[in-house]
Amino acid sequence: QERAVSGTVTDETGLGLPGVNVLIKGTTQGVPTNADGTYRISVPGPDAVLIFRFLGYTTQEITVGSQSTINVEMQPDIADAGEVVVTALGITRDKRSLGYSVQEVSGDDVNRVKTDNIVSSLSGKIAGVQITNGSGPGSSSRVVIRGVNSISGNNQPLFVVDGTPIDNSNFNAGGNGGGGVDYGNAAADINPDDVESVTVLKGASAAALYGSRAANGVILITTKKGTKRKGIGVTYSTSVTFNDPLILPEYQNEYGGGYKQTFDTYEGEPVVNYAADESWGPRMDGQMVRQWYSWYPDDPDFGKLTPFVPHENNIRDFYETGVTTNNNVSLAGGNDASRYRLSMTNYTSTSVIPENKLAKNTISLNASTNLTEKFTASTNFSYINLKNDNIPGNGYGSGAGNVVTSFNQWFQRQLDMDKLKNYQTADGVDRTWNIKSPTDLDPLYWENPYYVLNNSTNDMARERVFGNISLRYQITPGLSVQGWARTDFYTDRREQSIASGSIPQDAYSESVRQFRENNYELLVQYQKVFDNELDLSINAGANSRQSKYNSNGASTVGGLNVPNFFNINASIDRPSITDYESNQEVNSVYGSASLGYKGTYFLEASLRNDWSSTLPADNNSFLYPSVTGSVVLSELINLDVLSFAKVRGSWSQVGNDTSPYQLQLTFDGQNNYGSFPAYSTPNTINNPNLKPETITSQEVGIEFSLLDSRVGADFTYYHVSATDQILPLDIASTTGYNSTIVNAGEMVNKGIEVSLRGTPVRSENGLTWDVNFNWARNRNEVIELAEGQTNYLIASWGPSINAKIGEPYGTFVTDGFVYNDNGDKVVTDDGYFERATNQTYGSYLPNWTGGFTNSFSYKGFNLSAHIDFQDGGTLYSVSNRYGTYSGMFQTTVGTNAKGNPIRDDVSAGGGVLADGVKSDGSPNDVYVDAQEYFKHLSSRREYYLYDASFIKLREVRLSYSLPQSMLSTLPLNGVDIALIGRNLAILHKNVPNVDPESAYGSGNTQGFENGQHPSTRSIGFNLTFRF
């Protein structure tokens, strides 16, 4: 008696599970569940047995009996390692069927300890993903997956949230290494509280369907969604952390400001050399002297002599304890037809540097509903409002000077921060220690640090909306079509003020950047299972991407006509204007087909064609393929110990276009001369004959788990070659131009990734100990540049970083020591190191990176600790260079081999003996003046190149979930309490005085440390209540 049975198949959260195979046992008949997890099938009679099968879940068999409705909740199959992962285009796939490496981090892992940048939460958690963190609220974090591919372009991965590409621009000025204000990378807008999971698609194979922009990998973020439940699930979580500097330089506390160890006199009284921003001065032995503040009539010590003594903690006292708070409320729920989740987050963070504060509010909505049985509408949107006030400058780049550059590089050690806290006179005049002279109290090189932070500000605000709306139509159980309209839109506004009376001319500038990217996407999906053995799925899609960027700004010129009136109208001269627009459109069609046989053999191929507006009309179309395959060995070999094993391999290509306006020659606008307009020829010759770039990637891997999946391992080897790169080729400037845009160059990355996991303890009494370890080594080599070109300059500030043929990307070239055949440094007859110019040193790229997590759980308690590490990578530390040049750091004092202070006169037995040999090979025996020694050393920059290796205790979290028994009388479903700590300790490093980790924005200029803001240690707590 044939009759119909129907029902819904849900996952463990109650969400309808599409694509589950519903089969009648012993036959070849079957249907897949549709989009909302429902199915309908005809069965021969009550004896029929239905098999519910879905990869990654335990297969269930249910005898029909008299039932006409059979609802099934599928249970994840842990033993099968059958994780479902989100892959390109948001298609969920059984991990076992993939021919490439995919690693996923859960939202809990990302959220464990709150940071203001989701990128930094990934530090050390995924093999082959290198994160470099900046310091200070809202600063940039840089992420590089499997090394850098592009010589001159973007090397950041594509960020995708629920299918919507999220712009990750970094509009920081000054990418040369000299510094600037770090306004952060735009992907930091993604709210960690809304993240369900992060999947990293590492290679071109995984990302091929995303096209050219995914060449550096994809960070695929899936947000939390509502689940079917009774009532509304309310979750409230709050966390507070306190931040303090993790590391400050070791300063010397023996000698104060000046260039010589005696005081000059002024009108008969000893005076400090106020103009000196160095500490080669007299001993801080308490001698009475006119200090800087004694010249200010408003100071209690006006006209007085005060003791010249050290203030050992003057710099540490400057920093404050920063406070970060995060509050999130979410409402989630759903019924048979609809699901929703609404979430609101408020995040605030104050910096350890006074006056800097970041505030971020996020509202996000995720909803879907079945309009009819076959029509599903869904949407998700986030609105972000970010404000970062008074962002301190880095290095030398910001308008009114970076206070940290002063502390680390140019300062007088005796200075008393308490005296400096009174930073301006009643009239608002800067009270600085670095006065020009007793008769001229204007600042020479450095202002009072508090004056800068209070009066000369860098502010930014960004408002952003991203998300999509989508309609899906299930044509037949196996065939669906879905369309999306997506947008990512933001306005980013910046204001920079330089107070009147500052060293630079007073000024005000503001800029507004508008970015919009719209994507219109159509995807047809077809799935069919043949004979219960052969799984076929086909995807075909089309995408149109339109992006538009506008930047409008104005700066005052020639000062402000009313002091401290910060408005463009206050410009004394005609203000300078920026008016920039760029437009780009890329249209694409793509398709992929995958075939699985008996859950054992998998093969997948994809093809994509792009048309880009930025390439020449006759060369703007490019097609690229990928092929991947895998074999599940554990289906073929029956070993008790082996729970799961798979080998995989892939080959793929991705084409790439370029940025707009690289084809045609145009003239550069200059400031008017009076009423004369001025234009100049550009410095770069554009090229009307460009063709697309190509990235070819290959990878093989093996993954397995043993002992009931208590031990798991994954190994990957990859080789990526990026060719025909579009880059500016440097040409002799005597041509009238500095560069010309060409297709040239090849760069190769090859590497190994290892991730291991294990559960050493899983005891009956509930104690579990989990271990996760990952490690990756990447080798980068610049193989080829344009014909005749051997070096491409990436950036230069003192040393240069370069793409040099035969060397890794980011190789430093600078001046250093001369070595003899024995490897000893050669010293000249007058006792100084000889200097070798234009030497090639290491690259900023690390040798290997990784992370190690241990977590213990016992009856509601959970303790986890995460360590991450990096080996190698070169860091140039300007703080160390100038901190020694200026006699500020501890290394510039001490005694020499004769037992005398090195700062004593050489004639009195002082001085420094350079550690080297003379040209005849005999040991150097010429002592030189300490100040001259360190000043000479500063031009042997090799000395300030360091190995940036580190091991950091990145995160520790101790949490406790209240047992249900305690909650039964309360209207609560759960309470979690956690103590959290981030950046707790640097367990190992080789760079003195500064943190070896120092992101310089998220661009390709890396490996420079220049008055870096101190990295911070955060300790706090987190409370979560579920109602």
């Binding site: 008769t439 001229d440 145009t666 003239f667 234009y679 400037s733």
Partner: protein, 457 residues
């Protein structure tokens, strides 16, 4: 794909064509940003107050990129647009084609002489060709000088004072007669530079040029007028708004004090930020430790006359022409009264710097100033060195040619170096134009500061 799709890559930010006048304005503005400060430091007019690397000759190499990619590229574009049949019609809106080309050629000569004087051999005949020749050959300085003379002769001849003058011209406001005077006066400078290596050529060039229409008084001076707005003001004014890196050197101050030179209060402010009556020079070429101990209050900074917002950029003055003429007379190349011309040259300089006529006349009677035919090189060298204050490049070059005044190397010169005779090429050139630069170095001698350029012997 639609037509819109291809239109999308049309740059909305920068135009594909502009009037050549706009390029001329840009070219002149970037031309005046030269190596002037380095010249002032090498000629010891100024001293560095704290970071003394330039005045202790620390860095041998220097880059000529800015000359080629700045003014020279714009000037070449102006010449090309006025020469090409397809564009010369449209370009004529900014002045007659010939007049525009002539002005561009004259400025090119001024700059190319400056470049070759700094480095010696440089790319010249094959330069400025863009992608058509990305490795231009280096030319010998002798051949460059020959060409510079020809260029000036042809440019002067090309000028038609009755046709439309150059638009966008900051230097002479399109006055083509003045451009012709400048071309001829510049020819005297170029010619005289060859006095020690090719005296016969020098004589013929100088005498021919002096016979043409040259500067008659200070109103003919080739000056770049800075404006008061921040985008166009004098770079020294900008510099001293925020920095105090350069003071007047003790060498110059002492030299002028010995001669009671009435220009001294114009050249230098008094100490204590112009609050005292004293003018004190900054010790020249000392180590940074020594320089750092000299307080700003105790030394004199350059005078307001030369570093106000609108202080002119000096290209060539009537005074300089008169010194060249006096030297030509002294050498017997042209007729005239060397002493009188020498005195006129000094008075012209005094007039330029706003010195009272009576003070100027008194100065001519100073024992160390009075002209002495037997010693013309020294006197002309010294007085010209004083008159060329603010024109650093020319001061350094003329010191190298005449070896007067007697200057001592920086006391704390790095690695015991002498006063530089040229600058070395940068590694960028070795990377990008290796064969040609190596050939130049083979001909010219080691690529160091102490190697002399062709005309300097």
């Amino acid at each position: 794909c639609t037509g819109d799709f291809e239109e999308l890559n049309t740059n909305p930010n920068d135009p594909v064509s502009v009037p050549t006048a706009y390029l001329m304005t840009s070219a002149q503005r970037s031309a005046i940003y030269s190596f002037n400060t380095t010249g002032m430091l090498y000629a010891q007019h100024w001293a560095e107050t704290q970071y003394t690397s330039t005045s202790t000759y620390e860095t041998e190499e220097a880059s000529f990129n800015g000359y080629y990619t700045g003014a020279l590229a714009d000037l070449q574009t102006i010449i090309n647009l006025n020469t090409n049949e397809a564009t010369k019609g449209a370009a004529a809106a900014s002045g007659s084609n010939d007049n525009q080309i002539a002005v561009a050629r004259i400025i090119k000569v001024w700059l190319f002489q400056e470049i070759t004087d700094i480095w010696g051999e440089i790319p010249y005949s094959e330069a400025l060709a863009g992608v058509d020749n990305i490795t231009p050959a280096y030319d010998t300085q002798e051949s460059i000088y020959t060409s510079l003379v020809n260029e000036l002769e042809e440019a002067a001849a090309q000028i038609d004072v009755n046709a439309a003058g150059m638009e966008g011209d900051i230097i002479y406001g399109g006055d083509m007669a003045k451009w012709r005077k400048f071309a001829n006066s510049l020819r005297v400078r170029v010619g005289m530079r060859m006095s020690e290596v090719a005296p016969a050529v020098a004589e013929s060039v100088v005498s021919s040029a002096l016979g043409a229409d040259v500067f008659a008084d200070n109103s003919d001076n080739a000056l770049y007028a800075y404006l008061s707005d921040a985008a166009n003001d004098n770079p020294y004014y900008q510099h001293f708004l925020t920095r105090t890196d350069y003071a007047v050197s003790d060498v110059l101050v002492d030299f002028m004090k010995q001669r009671n030179d009435p220009r001294l209060p114009v050249y230098a402010n008094t100490t204590g930020d112009n609050t005292t009556d004293e003018i004190v020079g900054m010790p020249y070429g000392v180590s940074e430790a020594i320089a750092g101990s000299v307080t700003n209050a105790s030394i004199s900074f350059p005078g307001d006359f030369v570093r106000s917002a609108t202080s002119a950029g000096v290209i060539m003055t009537h005074s300089e022409l008169l010194f060249l003429q006096a030297e030509a007379i002294a050498r017997g190349w042209v007729a005239g009264d060397a002493a009188a011309t020498y005195n006129e040259a000094i008075l012209s300089s005094m007039e330029y710097f706003g010195v009272d006529a009576a003070d100027a006349a008194a100065y001519l009677t100073e024992a160390a100033v009075v002209y002495d035919a037997a010693n013309y090189r020294q006197l002309i060298g010294e007085q010209k060195w004083l008159a060329l204050y603010t024109n650093g490049m020319e001061s350094w070059s003329e010191w190298r040619r005449l070896d007067y005044p007697t200057l001592m190397p920086a006391p704390n010169a790095q690695e015991g170096r002498e006063i530089p005779r040229r600058r070395a090429y940068t590694s960028r050139e070795y990377n990008l134009n290796e064969a040609n630069i190596n050939a130049a170095v083979d001909r010219q001698g080691a690529d160091v500061m102490s190697t002399r350029v062709w005309w300097d012997n």
